[in-house]
């Protein structure tokens, strides 16, 4: 008997395949600098050296009430105003969709911004895949009407809740699950690259019970947590941001931090942020400091380092050692 024929792998790419052609990074430089999605706050933008990069997948992980959805809503409203000038596709799996908050965040003077937020519910991983292939069609053939901007921002809130419900901890299920991770991530990355989209995915957290498993670990609300979905999913994202929150013992005031866990273009660093009625904003490190000379130094740093250059110098020292 001949061995059974291998199962047909599903077609991953529906784009026409031509002879591969190299690209010149030099020509990409200008566009990669321009195509960043601002977070709507100069401090957070400087923290992320200009904003979220296009053509790559960014994950925002954090426990509940850390500010993941707030950030996503803010990004969705900012996309039409930013240099990207795009509408956004908001895929949500945590029902219900926070419509009230979205309307609150939208400035009163620009109610039309809400027109550029396209919303779809996702109920399962396969649902997501079919939605993404429909989105691909949409992206490839943008509608002609002038008051409809092309989609260049895809938000997925959240990936974890899709997977945490209908998978057991059995080996077979885990294998199926990680296969789906890579499929979804490949699709997201393909869309991001072909159409120069910014892709943002949110993720929940799990408690760290035993030992360090190689995944990211951070302290949030006095517990040790790491992003959900394990190491397999960590391989699937380009940039990982971790949001943590700490409640002060008696005062009840909440301190939130954003941390770059890994990113191809950023060093590991942390900054503080707050959530206000009008949105998410960064907090200057100088405001917390008691030392007056340090405050001055920070102030000076702010004045002179409006551009990205300053941050990059610092960055270089971190990773580029001597030859």
């Amino acid at each position: 008997m001949r061995p059974p024929a291998p199962k047909p792998p599903l077609a991953t790419s529906t784009y026409n395949q031509q002879e591969p052609r190299p690209e010149k990074p030099l020509l990409l430089l200008a566009s990669s600098r321009a195509a960043k999605l601002s977070l709507g706050c100069p401090l957070l933008d400087r923290f992320l050296s200009g904003g979220l990069p296009a053509a790559s997948v960014t994950e925002i992980a954090g426990e509940s009430a850390a500010g993941k959805t707030q950030l996503c809503l803010q990004l969705a409203l900012l996309a039409p105003l930013s240099p990207l000038s795009s509408s956004s596709l908001f895929l949500y799996s945590d029902l219900p969709f926070p419509l009230r908050r979205l309307r609150l965040l939208a400035p009163k003077s620009r109610p039309d911004l809400l027109d550029h937020v396209l919303v779809a519910a996702v109920h399962s991983p396969s649902d997501l895949l079919s939605l993404l292939s429909r989105a691909q069609h949409h992206l490839a053939h943008p509608s002609r009407s002038p008051n409809r901007l092309p989609i260049r921002l895809i938000l997925l809130d959240s990936i974890a809740s899709l997977f945490r419900s209908d998978f057991d901890a059995s080996p077979a299920d885990l294998k199926r699950r990680s296969g789906l991770f890579f499929k979804i991530s490949a699709k997201l990355k393909e869309l991001a690259y072909r159409h120069q989209c910014v892709v943002v995915v949110t993720n929940q957290v799990v408690d760290v019970v035993e030992g360090n498993t190689g995944n990211t670990v951070a302290w949030s609300s006095g517990r040790q947590v790491s992003p959900a979905l394990g190491l397999a999913w960590a391989n699937c994202v380009n940039t990982r941001l971790f949001l943590t929150r700490e409640v002060d013992g008696n005062g009840g005031s909440v301190k939130r931090h954003m941390k770059v866990v890994f990113a191809p273009h950023l060093p590991e660093r942390t900054c503080e942020f707050v959530i206000r009625r009008t949105g998410v904003f960064g907090v200057e490190p100088a405001q917390r400091s008691n030392n007056s000379s340090e405050v001055k130094a920070h102030g000076y740093y702010l004045e002179s380092d409006r551009t990205r250059k300053g941050g990059s110098n610092q960055h270089k020292q971190c990773t580029h050692t001597s030859i």
């Binding site: 008997m1 001949r2 061995p3 291998p6 199962k7 047909p8 792998p9 599903l10 077609a11 991953t12 790419s13 784009y15 026409n16 395949q17 002879e19 591969p20 190299p22 690209e23 010149k24 990074p25 030099l26 990409l28 430089l29 990669s32 600098r33 050296s49 990069p53 053509a55 790559s56 990680s178 296969g179 789906l180 890579f182 499929k183 490949a186 990355k189 393909e190 991001a192 690259y193 072909r194 190689g214 995944n215 990211t216 190491l231 960590a234 391989n235 994202v237 380009n238 990982r240 890994f262 191809p264 273009h265 990059s312 960055h315 270089k316 990773t319 580029h320 050692t321 001597s322 030859i323």
Partner: protein, 333 residues
């Protein structure tokens, strides 16, 4: 008897003269292209290495990343694999007068982590390091300054972004041709090789075979830039991935035939003969597609006349020429 000896010596003479024509410069050895261990050692010692940018890492690796070798960099997300890859793509371009290789780089990106602004930063850092190490040389030869622009470093990286594993295989096959045209490429970086192979492959044995085929190809590329049978045309036609992979496996002689299983020490039982025809021929790659009577009838039913060449490649190109290329491929695939 006499005539046979005469013929044999004639043949030997012809072979000798042909060998002289092809490679008379080989100093020693019975076979053409053979080298003794001493040659290899001196070759290896005279080789320059690509510095990783860290002294400790270089000393672990014996001077840096070696040319003519395939090096794997593994690690958890965020550990710095991509950073090291970009660093190597820059460091390979350090000009010869500053102790580098002065080559170019090919960067194959499967994950989308290649950030051009980061490459620019690393190039700037690399240049400032060169300036620190060679201040005197920099003063003397001001012409060198023109070389040391981050833009030049970026211009000498050939960047491929692949979005699926078929594209990845196609790019790696295309590399042979590409390297033939660009002789000054000194490093090929693939970041990361397995990303697309972690989805869609339920058949782990198939995956292993495709991956090992790829790695063999890469090793061959790294040893020498000779151009073998070009396979890139397969991938240009639209068909299901299953068939593409099958054809690719077929051309690389990696189909799961019985003799393949035997080569891999898998027990196949006593019956090594083809299951489709009753003549006693072993079920191998060549037999299954060409002389097997069952296949012959298949071929003729789709209207392709096969010649009787024994060599597979001439056979294929012959058929490809006679039938129109698109039609043939559609039929073949």
């Amino acid at each position: 008897m006499n005539t046979e000896i005469q013929e044999a010596s004639d043949i030997l003479k012809v072979i000798e003269s042909a060998n002289k024509l092809k490679g008379a410069e080989e100093p020693s050895g019975v076979l053409r292209g053979a080298q003794n261990a001493w040659d290899l050692l001196s070759d290896e010692q005279s080789q320059k290495h690509i510095t990783t940018g860290s002294g400790d890492l270089n000393s672990i690796l014996g001077g840096g990343i070696h040319c003519k070798e395939v090096t794997e960099i593994g690690g958890v997300p965020g550990v710095g694999k991509t950073q090291l890859g970009i660093q190597l793509a820059i460091n390979v371009q350090i000009p010869v007068e500053y102790g580098g290789l002065g080559g170019k780089a090919v960067y194959i990106d499967t994950e989308g982590s290649f950030m051009v602004e980061r490459v620019y930063q690393i190039a700037e850092g690399c240049i400032s390091d060169i300036m620190e190490y060679f201040p005197y040389r920099h003063d003397k030869a001001s012409s060198g300054r023109e070389h040391l622009q981050p833009e030049r470093f970026l211009a000498d990286i050939y960047y491929f972004r692949v979005c699926s594993y078929t594209e990845q295989i196609a790019v790696i096959n295309y590399l042979e041709k590409f390297l033939g045209e660009h002789k000054d490429v000194r490093i090929i970086i693939i970041d990361s090789v397995t990303f697309h192979f972690r989805q869609d492959f339920d058949d782990l044995a198939l995956r292993t075979r495709v991956l090992s085929g790829l790695s063999l190809k890469l090793m061959k590329l790294s040893k020498t830039y000779n151009v073998a049978l070009s396979l890139s045309w397969i991938w240009r036609y639209r068909c299901s991935n299953k068939l593409e992979v099958f054809v690719w496996l077929f051309f690389n002689d990696r189909l799961n035939t019985k003799d393949m299983q035997e080569r891999r020490n898998i027990f196949v039982g006593d019956d090594r003969f083809c299951v489709l025809c009753n003549i006693s021929a072993s079920e191998d790659h060549d037999h299954l597609f060409w002389p097997c009577p069952f296949r012959r009838s298949c071929w003729s039913s789709i209207g392709i006349q096969l010649g009787s060449h024994s060599d597979l490649n001439t056979l294929i190109s012959g058929v490809k020429d006679t039938a129109s290329a698109g039609l043939f491929s559609e039929k073949l695939l």
